[in-house]
Amino acid sequence: MVSLETSKAIAMQEILIISGKGGTGKTSVTAAFAHLAAGAVICDLDVDAPDLHLILDPAIKSSHDFISGNLARVAPDKCDGCGKCAELCRFQAITLKDAKAVVDEFNCEGCKVCVTFCPTRAIDFPDNFCGRWYISDSRFGPMVHAQLFPGEENSGRLVALLRQEAKKLAESNQAEIILSDGPPGIGCPVISSLSGSSLAVIVTEPTQSAIHDLERVARLCSHFSVPACVLVNKADLNQPLAEDIERRAGQQGLVSIGRLPFDQIFVQAVVAGKAVTEIGDDRSASALRKAWQKIESILNNGKTQPKGETKK
């Protein structure tokens, strides 16, 4: 069935590269796709340990503080050591030392319970400055990225903010594609990256660990009704497992978009600060080109046959 293009507005598509298991090659793949996509808005949503900028070498155009949530802070002169706060805190963030409440900032969830119930109003609740985010220019296109300060929380909120900024940037640049490097795992920042995306590209590898993790991340995609496809990296490390992954992926309704060889060029490219597709036309680069073509055709099909929910 073919539907008419009713609107002249550009249909923006958000492609998210994820993996479940870390270290399967998300960032190398994202860099190559950013090179091939030419003109996409590029976004690094792994705000906890971002690496994409090491390849894209972006020139920062604007830098912004990320202030999110609050932290409890005890004014010792006002604290009478009653212990009410420590008793109510469900995050083990408050202990009493020398009859004064002491907040452990790493455990503090910023829930305000201690602030609210302190009988002597001894606890302040200052804003939490927990990172920085940037709008930059890279040789592959405009880029939105961030760095959460080490040990901080609120990564989900920072991811949501970056996605919003990427959309604004895509609108002003008339870009049709937002390409995002996602975080590992299936928790808070991944959920924040995934919900409402147009397509998830799951980069996996033929190891028992990665298969286990792929199954969970694929379930997460289906939970949020995001269509997903699978790219098997380091495929020749274990050929039978690579085939097994593709078979299982098919059973879970995921499209396989190809295999990448176990190839030193990935490390060489990172060391050189280049995308794999920039430094040669070998088998890895051509497999990445084919994979990107498949993604483009999935996206084109998606325009006429909407699949799942795509929040705009």
């Binding site: 340990a49 319970v113 119930f117 040990g151 901080e152 949020f224 060391v271």
Partner: protein, 283 residues
């Protein structure tokens, strides 16, 4: 003693190192997988461990019969999990962080305790793991629950090898805190070095001694070596890149059992970690 195996970057070989250390550890040891989003250690240590229990978070449910719509709860909630507006009250249990403030503040006793499953704990006398429910966002409470479970289940004298989640934010911090040693597994690449720095900075305030195991030594560049020598972070092992070992890992084998060379490498690493912790405990 508790040893956390951590890394900033994912996929640097935490589970490879944790399973290998566990298999060569000279004393009776237990293992714990705190990468609850994507736990893999059990794949190497044996069959799927028994489910011990479900971990819940207490979330509110509104009893509109009792609610006076005073709005104190929604004003307190920092996570937009309760909305009271114009005579309509709603809860959004998936947004709740489980602080319990709303139960405490409600003057009309209109909030009932409901539970949200965040995940489950699996294991036995020598091994524990958490498994986050798919769709659940909050892993730190589950990580803390697994650690509390360990205090109940493991013999108090036993050494514990802990596989931490990747990254440097709250889940990783919840896993490495209150341990005796943090072993950072890093790859000798620009990505590996960048994320090692982040992990080193994030964990330094905890005051726990740290060391580095370089995995896939020989690939990439020298950046992590200069970072470590510049900051005094000790490189305690270099695990050479070996395609045959990588293939063994891919099918779920413990790398320390792959060859005599690997076994003795991990045995030396285990000994030097133990020596450091014991020296610190005595001194």
């Amino acid at each position: 003693m508790k040893i956390a195996v951590a890394s900033g970057k994912g996929g640097t070989g935490k589970t490879t190192v944790a399973s290998s250390l566990f298999s060569v550890w000279p004393e009776l040891a237990a293992a714990m997988d705190l990468d609850v989003e994507e736990p893999n250690l059990h794949i190497f240590l044996g069959p799927d461990p028994r489910r011990l229990r479900t971990v819940w978070l207490e979330v509110p449910e509104l009893d509109e019969e009792r609610c006076t719509y005073c709005g104190l709860c929604s004003e307190l909630c920092q996570f937009k999990a309760i909305s009271i507006f114009d005579g309509v009250g709603m809860t959004f249990p998936e947004m709740c962080h489980g602080c319990g403030g709303c139960f405490e503040i409600c003057p009309a006793d209109a909030l009932k305790v409901k539970r949200r499953e965040i995940g489950s704990i699996h294991g036995n006398q020598r091994f524990l793991m958490g498994r986050l429910r798919v769709g659940e966002a909050m892993s730190p409470p589950l990580i803390r629950a697994v650690r509390r479970e360990a205090e109940q289940i493991f013999d108090p004298g036993m050494d514990i090898i802990m596989d931490a989640p990747p990254g440097v934010s709250c889940p990783a911090a919840a896993a490495v805190r209150d341990t005796d040693f943090i072993l950072l597994v890093a790859e000798p690449t620009p990505f590996g070095c960048h994320d090692l720095k982040l992990a080193h900075q994030a964990f330094r305030p905890f005051g726990i001694p740290m060391g580095v195991a370089v995995n896939r030594a020989g690939i990439g560049d020298d950046s992590i070596y200069s970072y470590c020598s510049g900051t005094g972070l000790e490189i305690m092992a270099e695990i050479p890149f070996d395609r045959a070992a990588a293939e063994a890992y891919s099918s779920g084998q413990i790398v320390a059992r792959f060859s005599e060379k690997m076994r003795s490498l991990f045995r030396v690493l285990a000994d030097s970690i133990r020596r450091k912790v014991l020296q610190r405990q005595e001194g």
